[in-house]
Amino acid sequence: MKKIEVIVRPFKIDDVKEAIADLGLKGMTVTEVKGFGRQGGHKEVYRGAEYQVDFIAKTKIEIVVEAERVPEVLEAVRNSALTGKVGDGKIFVTPVEEVVRIRTGETGTEAI
């Protein structure tokens, strides 16, 4: 099992959600986050004083899938989140040791 963590532009979240749902995947966790990469921050001006705001609002999606499904998920997510401009985000894939469904006690791929 793998966890796919995706950082995307907030306005792309619906597109990404639909792309993932089209693959038949059942769940995801979404968090509003802040951070910066190559896009850098932006400038805000208050009464003539400029402030550099380093952290930009992004949305983080976490989904756990069977390992063999990772390539198709990556492709779907990348296509749906792409604008081609700096700041489109990143996808991280990490191994997951165990998953437990709290209601039933099922574990492993059954619990995804």
């Binding site: 805000e44 001006v45 208050y46 009464r47 003539g48 004083a49 402030y51 705001v53």
Partner: protein, 400 residues
């Protein structure tokens, strides 16, 4: 007594009262979220503190029998002889008690204006001591000089609704306060970004609304002068808003909502001394100039490296100064300024500007130094980092 005038000034007094909570919101929106209540409190408490001081001793020092042009006597101490009829009232069409409370609302907002200079770092207890003493030794004498039969008014200085008494005095005290109390921790290194600009815009709207009572009410009668002051006030605020946005757009690239709010207040400050003495078209020039000059004023603190948290010096100090001088230029209603053949008036206005700044700055500076040495002006470094809401009031503005 005149029933129409009485009812009008009662309403105006209520309008001016509403400016202080409006100012509290205007300021608090510009503060950081951990200081929202502390900042509101610094204005709101004046409704309690100054109202009482004014009734007991401030009013008599301002409007009691003149002593050498400097201060009022104690004949109205604790409102002695200040009654519901016109007996002894400085405005012979109004009940004396009404005149007292209308003036009291001006006294309430003036020390509240100063708090913008030291927002986010002043001890609450020391604020109360400073404001109490400031009303007695700075505001009341200034008020006497200009409106209470004192030397400045006798010299012919024009100040319709408080350019010197309210705005320059608070601006000069604010400059003294920034210098004595020092910069906020992290100033110049961290971003001090306003936490709630919609709150600031609402506050600015309330100030604009209340200012009609402030300026039109200063006619002290429901008459044509009041109508003129109402219109000049509105047009100056409108022009101030546009003037600020224009210069901000040219200088900074984008017009901002904080700029719109600041420009409107700058226009209101600038027209205050002139409101009853100029025509509506002159008011547009004064307001527009106010917006542009005060935009320059807020850039001064970066140049001279003092931390005037919410720009009291730049907006009230400079705006009031411009308004006082502009009165000497544009006065044409009931008085003549330079452009109407009376250069002497501009000279008198300049004299009043210099004396107001000099007196208010020096006495405020001494007061602050004495309080700093005895009670301390500033919260501890840790309290400043935690924020005044929790450190000084054991409350938090937001539970998010």
């Amino acid at each position: 007594m005149n029933a129409a005038d009485t009812s009008f000034i009662l309403i105006c007094a209520a309008l001016v009262m509403f400016m202080t909570p409006g100012l509290a919101l205007f300021y608090a929106g510009m503060a950081r979220s951990k200081n929202v209540l502390g900042t509101i409190m610094q204005s709101f408490v004046m409704l309690g503190l100054v109202s009482i001081i004014w009734a007991v001793i401030g009013y008599t020092l301002a409007f009691g029998d003149d002593i050498g042009g400097i201060i009022g006597g104690m004949n109205f101490f604790a409102l002695d002889g200040v009654g519901m009829d016109t007996l002894n009232s400085p405005a012979d069409n109004l009940p004396h008690l009404l005149f007292m409370v209308f003036q009291g609302m001006f006294a309430v907002i003036t020390p509240a204006l100063i708090t913008g200079a030291f927002a986010e770092r002043m001890k609450f207890k020391s604020l109360l001591i400073f404001s109490s003493l400031w009303i007695i030794v700075v505001y009341a004498p200034m008020c006497h000089w200009v409106w209470g039969g004192g030397w400045m008014g006798e010299r012919g200085a024009l100040d319709f609704a408080g350019g010197a008494v309210v705005h320059m005095s608070s601006g000069a005290a604010a400059l003294a306060a920034c210098l004595v109390i020092g910069k906020r921790k992290g100033y110049g290194k961290q971003s001090f970004i306003p936490h709630n600009l919609p709150m600031t815009l609402l506050g600015a709207g309330i100030l604009w609304f209340g200012w009609f009572g402030f300026n039109a009410g200063s006619a002290l009668a429901a008459n044509g002068v009041a109508v003129n002051a109402f219109v000049t006030t509105h047009l100056a605020a409108a022009a101030g808003l546009l003037g600020w946005l224009l210069v901000e757009g040219l200088h900074g690239g984008k017009p901002t909502t904080l700029g719109a709010a600041s420009g409107a207040v700058a226009g209101l400050v600038a027209i205050t001394p002139a409101a009853g003495f100029v025509t509506p078209m002159a008011a547009i020039l004064i307001g527009f100039g106010g917006g542009i000059i005060c935009y320059g004023g807020i850039l001064l603190k970066a140049k001279f490296k003092y931390d005037d948290s919410l720009d009291v010096v730049g907006i009230h100090g400079l705006g009031g100064t411009w308004g006082a001088l502009a009165t000497g230029l544009f006065a044409s209603v009931g008085a003549e300024g330079l452009f109407y053949g009376n250069p002497e008036q501009l000279w008198i206005q300049l004299e009043s500007v210099i004396c107001t700044w000099g007196y208010c700055f020096v006495v405020s500076w001494v007061l602050l130094k004495v309080i700093d040495a005895t009670c301390g002006l500033r919260v501890t470094e840790e309290e400043e980092v935690v924020g005044l809401d929790v450190a000084e009031h054991s409350e938090a503005g937001y539970q998010l």
